[in-house]
C-alpha cells in the first residue's frame, strides 16, 4: 500500500533526525560524563543497569517482531496454529527465572553501592565543609573554615573531598551537581550530608532539582574546581574584596527573589545553626536511639538533647570527629 510506504518513510526520516540529534554534542550529556568518584560510581551503575535491561529488552523486541510477522492472519500463512496449546511448565519456569536472575544481579550491585556511597569519600583526608542553604530562589553557600560565603557560585579544590551540609530556609529543594554526583534534598530543619569530590579542574553545572515555586528555574549555580593553591588564592581575594554578610543582609537575601552570583568576606558564625533550628531543627533529635515508642516520653529532656546535638553538628571543626563516631 502506498500510504504505508509513505508512513514508513516518515518514520525513517524522523528516526534519522532523532539519532543525529541524540548523538550530537556528547559532552552535553553531563550525567554520563562524571568528574568525581561519586558520579563515577553512579555512572557505572547506570551502565550496568542499561546493559542488564538490554539483555531482556532486545530479545523480547526481536521475538515480538518475529511472532507478529510469522503468525499474522493472512490467507495461506503456513505457520503452525495451535489454539489448544495454552500452558507449558518449562517455558513458564524459564520466564519466571530470567527476570529473577537479572534482578538478583542488579539488586546485588544496587545494594552494594547504596551502602558504599553512604560512607564518606576517602575518610583519611580532612574534607572541606560547605554549608548549603536553599532559599527562595537562590543558593547560599557558607565556608565555615574559610569564613567566606557565596551565592549561586561554588569554588572547590580538586582532589579534596567536599562535605556539603545542606538545609533549606524555604520549601524543600534538591542540591544537584550532576558531574560530581547525584543530588540530595535540602530540607527545612534538617542538615543532611552529601560528600562529593572533583577529580579534575573544570566548571560544572549545578542546579536545584526539586520544585520550589515561581523562581525555581533560576536556581542554577556554577561549581568551579581548581587546584588547592588557586582555591586558597580565591578565598583570600574574596576575604579582601567582598562585603560581609550580616544578619540583616541575610534577611534581605532570604526574601523571595532571584539573585546573581554574590560573595561575602564573612558571615554570622551561628547563621547555619540558626536556620536549621528556626525551621524545626530542635524537633528532629533521634539519632542513636531510634524512634521507638517506648524510649522517649520525657519531652523536656528530649529538646535539650536535640539542642545539644545541633550544637555539635554546627560546630564545624568537629566534623571529622563526628563522622568517626557515626
Amino acid at each position: 500500500m502506498k500510504k504505508q510506504k509513505l508512513l514508513r518513510r516518515v518514520v525513517f526520516f524522523i528516526m534519522a533526525a532523532l539519532a543525529t540529534m541524540l548523538l550530537a554534542g556528547c559532552e552535553n550529556y553531563i550525567v554520563l560524563n562524571p568528574k568525581g568518584p561519586v558520579a563515577e560510581t553512579q555512572y557505572r551503575l547506570i551502565i550496568i543497569s542499561i546493559i542488564l535491561c538490554l539483555v531482556v529488552v532486545i530479545p523480547v523486541l526481536a521475538m515480538l517482531v518475529y511472532v507478529v510477522w510469522r503468525y499474522r492472519d493472512k490467507p495461506g500463512n503456513k505457520a503452525p496454529y495451535t489454539p489448544e496449546w495454552v500452558d507449558s511448565k518449562t517455558l513458564e519456569i524459564v520466564w519466571w527465572g530470567i527476570p529473577i536472575v537479572i534482578i538478583a544481579i542488579l539488586g546485588f550491585f544496587t545494594v552494594r553501592d547504596t551502602f558504599a556511597l553512604a560512607k564518606p569519600q576517602d575518610p583519611e583526608t580532612k574534607p572541606l565543609t560547605i554549608q548549603v542553604t536553599s532559599l527562595d530562589w537562590k543558593w547560599l553557600f557558607q565556608y565555615p573554615e574559610q569564613g567566606i560565603a557565596t551565592v549561586n557560585y561554588i569554588e572547590i579544590p580538586t582532589g579534596v573531598p567536599v562535605q556539603f551540609v545542606v538545609t533549606s530556609d524555604a520549601p524543600m529543594n534538591s542540591f544537584w551537581i550532576p558531574q560530581l554526583g547525584g543530588q540530595t534534598y535540602t530540607m527545612p530543619g534538617m542538615a543532611m550530608g552529601l560528600s562529593l569530590k572533583a577529580n579534575e579542574p573544570g566548571e560544572y553545572f549545578g542546579s536545584g532539582a526539586n520544585f520550589t515555586g515561581e523562581g525555581f528555574a533560576h536556581m542554577q549555580f556554577k561549581v568551579v574546581a581548581k587546584s588547592q593553591a588557586e582555591f586558597d588564592k580565591w578565598v583570600q581575594s574574596v576575604k579582601q574584596t567582598a562585603p560581609a554578610l550580616t544578619k540583616d543582609g541575610y534577611k534581605e537575601l532570604a526574601k523571595p527573589g532571584i539573585s546573581d552570583k554574590q560573595f561575602y568576606s564573612s558571615f554570622p558564625p551561628e547563621l547555619f545553626k540558626e536556620i536549621v533550628d528556626k525551621n524545626g531543627g530542635q524537633y528532629y533529635k533521634q539519632h542513636e536511639h531510634h524512634m521507638k515508642m517506648n524510649q522517649n516520653t520525657n519531652h523536656g529532656d528530649m529538646n535539650h538533647d536535640a539542642n545539644q546535638h545541633m550544637e555539635h553538628g554546627a560546630n564545624q571543626h568537629e566534623m571529622s570527629g563526628m563522622k568517626a563516631d557515626k
Binding site: 543497569s49 499474522r72 520466564w95 544496587t110 528555574a217
Partner: protein
C-alpha cells in the same frame, strides 16, 4: 457598593490574562448552548430520567468515559501549552506562575480525572457483562461514585477561572503547598477536588470487589474469570488499601491550611517529609491501580485477536496478585534522595525491582499467546502490539530508576518524565484506547471507523517516540522537571526540546483523528448486528449490542474459561442443546436522584471549604463566615441525602417477562 462588588470579583475570579478571558467566554457560551439545546428540544426530563438519575452500570460507564475524554483534551491542551513554552523558552508565552499551574493541573487531571475515570468507565461497562451479572453489587453506590468523581473533577477544573489553580506540582509537596508559600484557594481546590472524587473511587473499589466475588454467573469459578475481571479485582484491592491513605493525607494538609495545624509546616514541629512519605504510600500504588486494568485489557485483546486462549492463565493471575500486593511495598523509590539511610534505600530499591519479575511474566505470556496463533491486525490489536515495546522500554527505565544510587542522578530530571509518560501513555492510554475501541460496539452497537482509527494510531505512536525519547537524553543533559525556562546556561537543551514539542503535536493530531473517528462513526459506523463483532471469547459477546439494560435475559451457566468461545464451538458442532431457557421476571434497581443531589452538596461543601481559609473580602467584611456556612450547608445536605436513602425501602422493581421478550425481539434475539 459597586466598588465592593468589583473588588470582590477581582479577588474571586481569575483576571488579567487573555487566555483566561477566552476560557471564561467559551465556558459561558458552551453552558448557554447546552442549556439552549436541552430546552429547545425539551430534553431536560430525558437528561434527568435517563442519565442523571440512572443506576445502570453501562450508562454510568459511558458517562465516565465521556468525562474522561474531555479531561484528556483539557490535560492534553495543558501539555501542548507546556511544550510550546519549552520549545521557545525565551518567548514570553507563559509566565512562571502559569507554567506552574499548568503542569500541576496537567498531572492531576491526567492521572486523577482522566486515567481513573476512563478505567472506571471500562470497569463499569465490562465487568458485569463479563461475569454474567445484571448489574454491580451496589448500583446506587455506583452512581454515587460517579457523581462524586464528576463534581470533584468540576470543582478542580473551575479553579481555572475562579480563584486560581494549584501550582505546587501534581502531588503538592509541603511546605510549598502550605499557607505560608501558597496562600489563596488554589491548593484548596486541589485538595477538595481530589478528596471528593477520591471518596468515590474508594466506593468503586469496594463495589467491584464485592461484585466480582459475589455476582458471578453460576458455575464461574474465580480461576475461570476472564483476565480483565481479574485485573479489575487486583486494581480494586489496591484501591481499597491505598485511597484511605490519600484521604488522610489530603485531610491533614487541609487541616494545616484551615486550622493552622502543624503536620507538615516548617514551624511548630511539623514534618513536611511525612507528607511525602504518606502521599507516596498512596501515589505509588496509584500508578499500578491504573496500569493493572491495562494489563487486563491487553490480555483480552491478545487472546481474541490471536484466536488463542491466553497463555499461562494461572501465571497471569498470580503475577497480577503479586503486583497488587508487592506494589504496596515500594513507595520510597520516589524519594530515595531524601536520605532516609542506606538500609531504607536498599530495601525499597530491591522491592521495586522485584516488580519487574511478575510484570515480565506477563509480557512473555502475551508473546506466547500470539505465538502459534493467528493474529488479526484490527485496531485494538494494533494498539496492543504497540504497547508491548513501549511498556517494555518504559518498564526497563523504571528498573533503572529503581537503582537507588543511580536515581540520585535521574531524580526529578527529564529522564523520569520520559519514564512515566512511557508507562502511562504506552501502558495506560494505549490500553484504554484499545479497550474503548474493542468494547465500543458493545456500548453503542456500532464499530469505530477503521481508517481514521489507524491514522490516529500512527500519529499517537510516532508522536509518542518523537516526544519522549529526546526527554531521556535531556535527563542525561541535566535538565530538571518543572522548568519554564532553561536559565542562563546553555547546555544544549533547545533542539531536543523542540523535537519533543513536535512529537507532542503529532500526538495532538492523533487525538483529533480520534475525535473525528468517533463523530464520523456515529454517522457512518458499521452496525453490529451479531453482538459479537470481533469473534470474542467471553460472555459479554454472547448478548446483543448494545446490551439491553438487564444485560442477560437469562443468566447463563458459565463454567470454565472462555465460555462464549466454547459455546460457539459447541454450536458449530451442533452439540449445543437448544433447549429454550425459561424466562423469569428480572429484578432491577430503581433509578434515584439522590446520588446526583448528594454530589452537588459535596460540591457546595468543597467550594465553601476551598474559600474558607482565604481572606477574600467584600468591602470591609471578611467573607470567611459565608464560606463556612456554605461548607456546613453542604455537609448537612450530604448527611440528609444519606438519611433519606436509609429510609427508602422501595428501591427495586421487576421487569415482567413480556417486556423482556419484547426487548430481546427488538434486538433480534428469539427467546
Amino acid at each position: 457598593m459597586l466598588e465592593n462588588i468589583k473588588n470582590f470579583a477581582s479577588q474571586f475570579f481569575v483576571t488579567g490574562d487573555p487566555l483566561i478571558y477566552g476560557a471564561d467566554v467559551s465556558i459561558v457560551l458552551t453552558t448557554l448552548a447546552i442549556v439552549f439545546v436541552l430546552t429547545y428540544f425539551k430534553k431536560w426530563g430525558w437528561l434527568w430520567r435517563e442519565w442523571l438519575t440512572t443506576v445502570d452500570h453501562k450508562k454510568i460507564g459511558i458517562m465516565y468515559i465521556i468525562a474522561s475524554l474531555l479531561m484528556l483534551f483539557r490535560g492534553g491542551v495543558d501539555a501542548l501549552l507546556m511544550r510550546i513554552q519549552l520549545a521557545f523558552p525565551n518567548m514570553p508565552f507563559l509566565h512562571s506562575e502559569h507554567y506552574n499551574e499548568i503542569f500541576t493541573t496537567h498531572g492531576t487531571i491526567m492521572i486523577l480525572f482522566m486515567a481513573m475515570p476512563f478505567m472506571f468507565g471500562l470497569f463499569n461497562i465490562v465487568v458485569p457483562l463479563q461475569i454474567g451479572a445484571r448489574d454491580v453489587a451496589y448500583p446506587f453506590l455506583n452512581a454515587v461514585s460517579f457523581w462524586l468523581f464528576f463534581l470533584g473533577a468540576m470543582l478542580f477544573n473551575i479553579s481555572f477561572v475562579i480563584g486560581g489553580s494549584a501550582d505546587a506540582g501534581w502531588l503538592s509537596y509541603p511546605p510549598l503547598s502550605e499557607n505560608q508559600f501558597s496562600p489563596g484557594p488554589g491548593q484548596n481546590f486541589y485538595i477538595w477536588g481530589i478528596q471528593i472524587s477520591g471518596i468515590g473511587s474508594l466506593a468503586t473499589g469496594i463495589n467491584f470487589i464485592v461484585t466480582i466475588l459475589k455476582m458471578r454467573a453460576p458455575g464461574m469459578k474465580l480461576m475461570d474469570m476472564p483476565l480483565f475481571t481479574w485485573s479489575v479485582m487486583a486494581s480494586c484491592i489496591m484501591i481499597i488499601f491505598a485511597f484511605p491513605v490519600l484521604t488522610v493525607t489530603l485531610a491533614l494538609l487541609f487541616i494545616d491550611r484551615f486550622a493552622g495545624a502543624h503536620f507538615f509546616t516548617i514551624d511548630g514541629g511539623g514534618n513536611p517529609m511525612m507528607y511525602i512519605n504518606l502521599i507516596w504510600i498512596w501515589g505509588h500504588p496509584e500508578v499500578y491501580i491504573v496500569v493493572l486494568p491495562a494489563f487486563g485489557i491487553f490480555s483480552e485483546i491478545v487472546s481474541t485477536f490471536s484466536r488463542k486462549p491466553i497463555f499461562g492463565y494461572t501465571s497471569m493471575v498470580f503475577a497480577m496478585m503479586i503486583i497488587s500486593v508487592l506494589g504496596y511495598f515500594t513507595w520510597v523509590h520516589h524519594f530515595f534522595t531524601m536520605g532516609a539511610g542506606a538500609n531504607v534505600n536498599a530495601f525499597f530499591a530491591v522491592t521495586t525491582m522485584a516488580i519487574a519479575i511478575p510484570t515480565g511474566v506477563k509480557v512473555f505470556n502475551w508473546l506466547f499467546t500470539m505465538f502459534r496463533g493467528r493474529i488479526r491486525m484490527e485496531q485494538p490489536m494494533l494498539w496492543t502490539i504497540a504497547f508491548i515495546p513501549c511498556f517494555l522500554i518504559g518498564g526497563a527505565t523504571g528498573v533503572m530508576l529503581a537503582v537507588a544510587p543511580a536515581d540520585y542522578q535521574y531524580h526529578n530530571s527529564y529522564f523520569l518524565i520520559a519514564h512515566f509518560h512511557q508507562v502511562l501513555i504506552g501502558g495506560v492510554v494505549f490500553a484504554y484506547v484499545a479497550g474503548l475501541i474493542y468494547w465500543w460496539p458493545k456500548m453503542f452497537g456500532f464499530k469505530l471507523n477503521d481508517r481514521l482509527g489507524k491514522w490516529a494510531f500512527w500519529f499517537w505512536n510516532i508522536g509518542f517516540y518523537v516526544c519522549f525519547m529526546p526527554q531521556y537524553a535531556l535527563g542525561f543533559m541535566g535538565m530538571t522537571r518543572r522548568l519554564y525556562t532553561y536559565g542562563n546556561w546553555d547546555l544544549g537543551w533547545a533542539p531536543l526540546n523542540l523535537l519533543s514539542t513536535i512529537g507532542a503535536f503529532l500526538m495532538g493530531i492523533g487525538f483529533i483523528f480520534q475525535a473525528w473517528q468517533i463523530i464520523y462513526s456515529i454517522k457512518h459506523g458499521e452496525r453490529d448486528v451479531t453482538g459479537d463483532p470481533w469473534d470474542g471469547r467471553t460472555l459479554e459477546w454472547s448478548i446483543p449490542s448494545p446490551a439491553p439494560h438487564y444485560n442477560f435475559a437469562v443468566i447463563p451457566h458459565a463454567a470454565g474459561k472462555d465460555v462464549w468461545w466454547r459455546m460457539k464451538e459447541e454450536m458449530k458442532q451442533g452439540k449445543a442443546k437448544q433447549e429454550k431457557p425459561k424466562l423469569e421476571p428480572i429484578h432491577m434497581p430503581k433509578n434515584s436522584g439522590i446520588p446526583f443531589v448528594m454530589a452537588v452538596f459535596w460540591f457546595i461543601a468543597g467550594f465553601g471549604f476551598t474559600f474558607a481559609p482565604t481572606d477574600i473580602t467584600f468591602g470591609e467584611t471578611k467573607l470567611t463566615f459565608v464560606w463556612i456556612s456554605m461548607a456546613v450547608i453542604g455537609l448537612l445536605g450530604v448527611g440528609l441525602c444519606m438519611l433519606a436513602r436509609s429510609f427508602q425501602y422501595d428501591t427495586d422493581y421487576y421487569i415482567p417477562v413480556d417486556e423482556v421478550k419484547r426487548t430481546e425481539a427488538s434486538l433480534g434475539r428469539v427467546v
